[in-house]
């Protein structure tokens, strides 16, 4: 049995026992390590029954396949899982889906604001029009040509 076949069987069993956990499997070629991602983060970090199921599995894998490496991670890890080879319970992670749904539009606006792809339209505020209006009260004298040159410079 190959390491991937072993993991497919074992993770399938894990997925059956924990139907609310989304399990992704991939291989990280940078560090030659099998990566198993368990989602959502709250299950990975707080579900002790889940820990009791996957920790022995990871030890068993390392003992069985002495030349292979494995890491069980969640969404908070800096380890990348670029290509998912197989997954179980993909619809289980409802919390993740709801958050994505709720914040997708907000995130899009935030992204467009922070990294605009178009040059924003120049809005020329007519300072002198307002100054002229308050000329009498402020006692400010402004020539018409001064206004023009200032606008261009601005």
């Amino acid at each position: 049995m190959t390491p991937v076949e072993f993991l497919k069987n074992e993770l399938n069993t894990l997925a059956t026992s924990f139907p609310n956990v989304h399990i992704k499997y991939g291989y990280n070629n940078v560090i030659d390590t099998h990566i198993v991602e368990l989602l959502p983060l709250i299950e990975y970090s707080s579900n002790q029954d889940l820990d009791k199921a996957w920790v022995p599995l990871s030890i068993n894998f390392m003992e069985k396949f002495k030349n292979e490496e494995i890491a069980f991670i969640s969404s908070d890890s800096s380890l990348s899982l670029k290509h998912v080879i197989f997954e179980f319970n993909p619809k289980a992670c409802t919390e993740e889906n709801v958050l994505t749904e709720l914040y997708q539009e907000l995130a899009k606006n935030e992204l467009e604001y922070s990294f605009p792809t178009q040059i924003p339209q120049l809005v020329v505020f007519d300072t002198f029009a307002s100054l002229k209006k308050s000329k009498k009260t402020d006692q400010v004298e402004i020539e018409e040509n001064e206004c023009t040159s200032y606008s261009i410079a601005a």
Binding site: V30, K52, K66, A71, S80
Partner: protein, 133 residues
Amino acid sequence: MSELLEKSRQSLLSAKSLVKETYYSSTVNRSYYACFQFILHILFTKIKKDPTEFYNEVQNGKNGTHTWASKLISYELAKKDMIDYKWFQGHVPALKERRVNADYYQSVISQEEGYKAISEAENIINLLVKNFK
């Protein structure tokens, strides 16, 4: 003090010095080695693994020195504390990936990554200190 412990200490100090000099790739490299040298120190002095036996196992197997040392520590840690094992098995590969990217790939390593690598190395070392007194 074991030589590996001293090497680890010097690697970490080098990492902290290099990050101030803006040499971020080298910072990541030294942070990783500080961690790895400490793992070897624990393996040989605390777990009492025979170094000759260890290097023979490395030569006879397909694992590299780093991988085999991490695996042996992982087994011991799993026996001691499942939560710490859980943390360790996820963070050591993360630091390793950071180091491989810093050393071998055409990626620019930022100041933030340099500081993160130091922090990760320190956290791994502290966890080992806690478990293998």
